[in-house]
């Protein structure tokens, strides 16, 4: 039965257990049409399991999973005809040429011979692969292979494209190349579910981010909102090494948190939940300690801080 589409992906209470481990322990997730959702998590968080369930490669143990309005368990065939998948585990055929790869997928999607040929040519030129279209994909560079993989996911313009760690294992140049290609997809209005373990990638490509760890959703929101929840950091740089300890005392007093001290950069840092007030207290405290300050200020948390904070908290929670 087809449910009218209000979200491209709607997941409720999804659980999946493998022989010895719980891969997913109750995931709720939603991807709105037209957006890019970044699914962020460390290795082993359950990203790949989730993607495999969404793409009908695995069956969920329990929970409700709708993709483009179709239930993955009841109507996997319908789901498959409305998704494209690319990334880490979705391979291009190394023995076929770039053209043949795309042509085959178009044919398998039920397109006629002429249309399939045109579709393959269009996608090859769109992903700047026309020059190498006649070469076996096995001879492509890493970046070219991923571009071909992305092109393959777009054959037949599926309304939802799932990108599973699209840049894992790529060199920096190929990564930028791939990001650019994903950026073009986004500009074209395709709905994308992107899994990644790179924060920079999620920050750059995703409209919204869902952080998962150990099979659970631990946070979700826009990149800015996530950064805001982690608050600011108070940063103080001092002129002399010998003043570092005094500065650390002042920062601890002002923020109530244990500061990290970088001796080489002569910098003291601590999370400051109440921002400006902490900054004012720090100025007073530093004055009291008679520290000569070179630089002082509030800096916004990076997504890395958020991510590490979330995942380590989850780890401690699990250990208790």
């Amino acid at each position: 039965m087809h449910t009218p589409i209000t979200s491209a992906v709607a997941v409720q209470g999804l659980r999946k257990k493998f022989r010895e481990s719980h891969a997913l322990r109750g995931i709720d997730l939603e991807v709105h049409p037209g957006e890019v959702l970044g699914l962020l998590g460390p290795n082993g968080a359950g990203k790949t399991t989730l993607v495999k369930i969404l793409t009908t490669l695995l069956k969920p143990d329990s929970g409700h999973v709708l993709v483009n309005g179709w239930n993955v368990t009841a109507e996997p065939e319908k789901v498959r005809s409305t998704i494209g998948i690319a990334g880490q585990y979705s391979t291009v055929d190394g023995l076929l040429t770039g053209f043949e790869n795309l042509y085959l997928i178009a044919k398998l999607r039920g397109v006629g011979r002429r249309t399939a040929r045109r579709l393959a040519d269009d996608l090859l030129s769109r992903f700047r692969l026309t020059d190498v279209a006649g070469r076996p994909a096995g001879t492509y560079s890493g970046g070219m292979r991923r571009r071909l993989d992305l092109a393959a996911a777009l054959v037949g313009s599926p309304p939802l494209v799932v990108l599973d760690e699209p840049t894992t294992g790529l060199d920096p140049e190929s990564r930028l190349d791939t990001w650019e290609a994903v950026g073009e997809l986004v500009a074209g209005g395709t709905t994308i579910l992107l899994t990644t373990q790179y924060l920079e990638e999620a920050d750059r490509l995703a409209d919204r981010i869902t952080v998962i760890d150990r099979g659970r959703v631990v946070a979700e929101g826009t990149s800015d909102a996530l950064k805001a929840t982690a608050g600011n950091r108070l940063v103080v740089c001092v002129a002399e090494d010998c003043q570092l300890d005094a500065a650390a005392r002042a920062v601890r007093e002002a923020t109530g948190a244990t500061p990290t001290v970088d001796r080489r950069a002569r910098r003291v840092e601590a999370p400051a939940a109440d921002g400006r007030a902490a900054l004012a207290r720090a100025l007073t405290a530093l004055e009291g300690e008679q520290v000569e300050v070179l630089e002082i200020g509030l800096s916004r948390c990076t997504l890395d801080d958020v991510f590490l904070g979330l995942t380590s908290r989850n780890r401690q929670g699990a250990a208790l």
Partner: protein, 294 residues
């Protein structure tokens, strides 16, 4: 929904894109035609692979020559020389055809290992098509191997002594049996963990299966229970059926058993093939589901 469709059509990919997506055009075709079309696409892909993998191509075209030489001249001389070489071809073809199974096993387990199967599974295609595409392309491979074997036979003095229809019937029966063997190959690939194990396991059972037969020797020369196995071995009956169709008689001194399969070799081979196909198509689709929907 309308909003998404609109944005999509506005996208560069949308231009000229077919109306797949939510409502695939394919859905209009009948399911049987669909499976056949998908299998044909995949079979063509497998044949492109074969053309671009020199190792496989050599195996498929040179192996039959090696076996023909080996059995024709190394064993053949002590078994009756030219008369044996003319008689042997049926057995040689039966063996060539039986070995099709290894192509299937190797090809499919490589696709499983490299994740190609997963890629195909995320496409809206029938699950049988993936396996059927493989066995169909191996049928084509088998035709090539059979042509090489037959050419070797002609060079070694084999001649058919029957009409064109009988000869054609013989080759068709061989193809039917090859198709059955190919489905065994699918099953082996699906129950083995990786391509390497699949490759060796695919051969382990095949050698005894081929040689405990009277494809090359008189079945009655085998000791005790082995001769019973040989009598009922479909490879024996295929070899006998081919000799029957080609009008090749055994060399002097070859005792031919008179059990039921030996009396009705073509019928027995066809029945065995049908049974093998039914059993292994069922087992394979079941294994495929189990392996891929954990």
């Amino acid at each position: 929904m309308t909003a998404t469709t609109d944005t999509r059509t506005a996208s560069p990919s949308g231009q000229g894109a077919p109306p797949t997506g939510a409502s695939p055009t394919r859905a209009r075709r009948s399911p049987v035609l669909r499976v056949l079309a998908e299998s044909a696409d995949l079979a063509l892909r497998n044949l492109l692979h074969l053309r671009r993998t020199p190792g496989l191509l050599i195996t498929c075209l040179v192996e039959p020559v090696v076996y023909a030489m080996l059995i024709g001249y190394v064993f053949g001389n002590s078994l009756g020389g030219p008369a044996y070489r003319s008689y042997m071809l049926g057995g040689l073809l039966a063996q060539t055809v039986a070995f099709t199974t290894t192509f299937t096993t190797v090809g499919l387990s490589r696709d499983l290992e490299q994740g190609m199967v997963d890629r195909f599974r995320t496409l809206p295609i029938s699950r049988v098509a993936l396996l059927l595409g493989r066995t169909t392309s191996d049928l084509a491979t088998c035709v090539a191997s059979m042509a090489v074997t037959t050419a070797c036979g002609l060079l070694m003095g084999w001649r058919p002594h029957a009409g064109p229809f009988e000869v054609a019937a013989g080759f068709l029966l061989a193809l039917l049996f090859s198709f059955a063997m190919s489905w065994i190959g699918v099953f082996v690939a699906l129950v083995t963990p990786n391509a390497q194990v699949a490759g060796s396991l695919g051969l382990i059972w095949l050698f005894p299966a081929t040689f405990i037969s009277s494809a090359f020797v008189s079945g009655s020369s085998l000791p005790g229970p082995l001769s019973t196995v040989a009598v009922w071995n479909p490879i024996t009956s295929l070899a006998n059926a081919l000799r029957h169709f080609f009008g090749n008689t055994p060399p002097p001194g070859f005792r031919v058993p008179h059990d039921w399969p030996a009396q009705h070799p073509a019928l027995y081979t066809a029945a065995c093939s049908a049974l093998l196909i039914a059993v292994f198509v069922t087992l394979s689709t079941w294994c495929y589901r189990a392996r891929t929907s954990r």
